[in-house]
Subunit: 355 residues, 2 copies
């Protein structure tokens, strides 16, 4: 049973703490691992010592009922994932994540213990990615839970990688495998629907471990920076796969002014993703193209770098850049038919639950 | 009539744009005024060139029904104020505001035109304070409007002023006048209640201009930095008055490890604030102590600096620091009675509307 359904009178209403007390209570046990963190929570603003480096900043807002469903997402995982999503954006710039600010609006349905669970997940992610929590805000809301995260990274200018540097003939490369997070979400939604229909039914989650973890506890590929340095490769453009491969390719196309050919047979997918998609009557490739939330890195490299990367287990070469006027197409397996790539992505405004 | 009540079919549902399109649409006409802004909206993260300065970051979350009521707060003012609140936190560190990120969660009750109004106010504040909009996120929510703002400033280390530097015998100084924003809020709430009871009644706002502007269109005291430099004064500690004078004094006390004596007769208040408070049967001093949202700066200076500041129209010396074990007290007018200062502040969790 989750904290939110628990009617235990031992749970602490948020109003016990008040505005200042609550953020202090939730953040007081966080430690710091970056020398650039000079002032954290507790003054009017946090201070970062940039030491002649570029300061890279990203922000994201996550809303209950839109980005997550607390019916099947544990609070601790939610906190962890909220950090990962932002750290992933910094990794996509090739920047080193250093600090994070977390704000939350919560209804009185949430006891303090629920927020503590979320912060436990945030703390775990801060430790894993060596980022320091330096600020935030908590407020009440008239309904639901909304989280807003801002993440900061530092980097030498020459290391930063934008979305805009891809050239014609560059190779399109992706890390890891795709579509798993979306397949995992489908299993969670199916079992949640079963549970709502009959609370005595046991959810059937066994055997889906890998894709459930891809959905509930994704990791940002901060490891890729080091690997690319060791291989002596500097990508010409880079983005993270948060909204689906198709949407990300269109972003690189738009900002680099090139088109792309993506080869269906080259898209890396785990066998569990494929079998689950088929079990659910979904096209596995569509899970990779439009599913999103894989948080892998998608980048382009000069054709000369192909030999450095071709047999590396972390990377798949999935396509190449063409002239912008040749457009963005998926080259179908077998037939070589060209299918236009669309930015269906993961659209919060089309997905919303409110009528 | 406001955009939100307008049933005009010409208004554009947010879903028309989708997630990427909306933030692009809302931010594409923003210009930049800081050389430190290197990459803004459009890549995975924004990039700031810190040029060997400290990077100062603050964040704030504003929720409909908690921090503002769209029944009487125009959307454009809301956008303006959201920026001001954060710029004020940077001014309280004596840092120069340079960039801002704005995220919003909105229900489908809001058409695109409503968000455009909010962004028009944000744009006005960006222009006024010379800050660049460099990022943000928009998402749907199951109810209401939530805004999350992160503001960034740059500053040389030697100029930064923390909350923690006040020493015993330092003088306590405040800019401008206090309590006006709270008095203005009371008038807005009174007239809104009248309107709800009888929509044909005309609101009686005439003659309240100054305090209504203090509430609806406050300004951050970014001008104070220059004035203090010209007077050759460096405050020993500083904070902005967002939650009420009483609460801010307790923050300085807590972080500087000193107590304070605040003289009731010295608290600067506009005559309209005093007369409005009396009309509403409120104690004017309580409006200053616990009202908040004045966004003036409260700071301490060494006793030797008194002559530099004593007759300056922007400043009022309102008290002094004592040993921590002497506590924090208001010295009552006439009687010299000591009244303990409490952090009643403006507590979002006690004020919430939800049952």
């Amino acid at each position: 049973m989750s904290i939110l359904e628990d009617k235990d009178p031992q749970l602490t209403p948020i109003s016990t703490y008040g505005e200042f007390g609550l953020i202090k209570h939730l953040t007081e046990n966080f430690s710091f691992s970056n020398p650039s963190t000079e002032i954290a929570v507790g003054d009017d603003a946090a201070v970062i010592d940039a030491n002649n480096q570029k300061v890279v900043v990203t922000t994201d807002m996550l809303a209950e009922g839109v980005h997550f469903n607390l019916g099947y997402v544990p609070l601790k995982h939610l906190g962890y994932k909220a950090v990962v999503v932002n750290v992933s954006d910094l990794a996509a710039m090739n920047a080193t994540p250093t600090q994070i600010l977390v704000s939350m609006a919560v209804s009185s349905r949430f006891p303090v213990e629920a927020l503590e669970e979320i912060y436990a997940g945030i703390a775990l992610a801060c430790e894993r990615y060596k980022v320091d929590l330096i600020g935030g805000d908590t407020t009440s809301s008239t309904s639901g839970l909304i989280m807003s995260i801002t993440a900061i990274g530092l980097e030498n200018s020459e290391n930063l990688i934008k979305r805009s540097g891809a050239k014609v003939n560059d190779l399109l490369v992706v890390t890891g495998d795709l579509g798993g997070a979306y397949a995992g979400l489908q299993i969670l939604e199916r079992e949640h629907a079963v549970f709502l229909a009959n609370p005595n039914m046991q959810p059937e989650m066994e055997g889906y471990d890998y894709i459930l973890e891809r959905q509930l506890k994704p990791e940002a590929r901060t490891d890729i920076k080091k690997i690319l340095t060791e291989l002596d490769i500097k990508p010409t453009s880079m983005i993270d796969v948060s909204d689906g491969l198709s949407s990300e390719i269109l972003h690189l196309s738009d900002q680099s002014k090139v088109g792309f050919r993506l080869y269906e047979e080259k898209i890396p997918m785990d066998s569990l993703t494929i079998s689950t998609a088929e079990e659910l009557n979904l096209n596995p490739v569509m899970c990779a193209l439009n599913g999103g939330e894989d948080y892998e890195l998608l980048f382009t490299i000069a054709p000369d770098d192909f030999d450095k990367i071709r047999n590396h287990p972390d990377f798949s070469v999935i396509g190449h850049a063409v002239d912008l006027d040749q457009g963005n197409y998926l080259v179908a397996r077998g037939s070589n038919e060209l299918i236009a790539l669309n930015a269906q992505g993961w659209d919060a405004f089309l997905k919303r639950k409110e009528s």
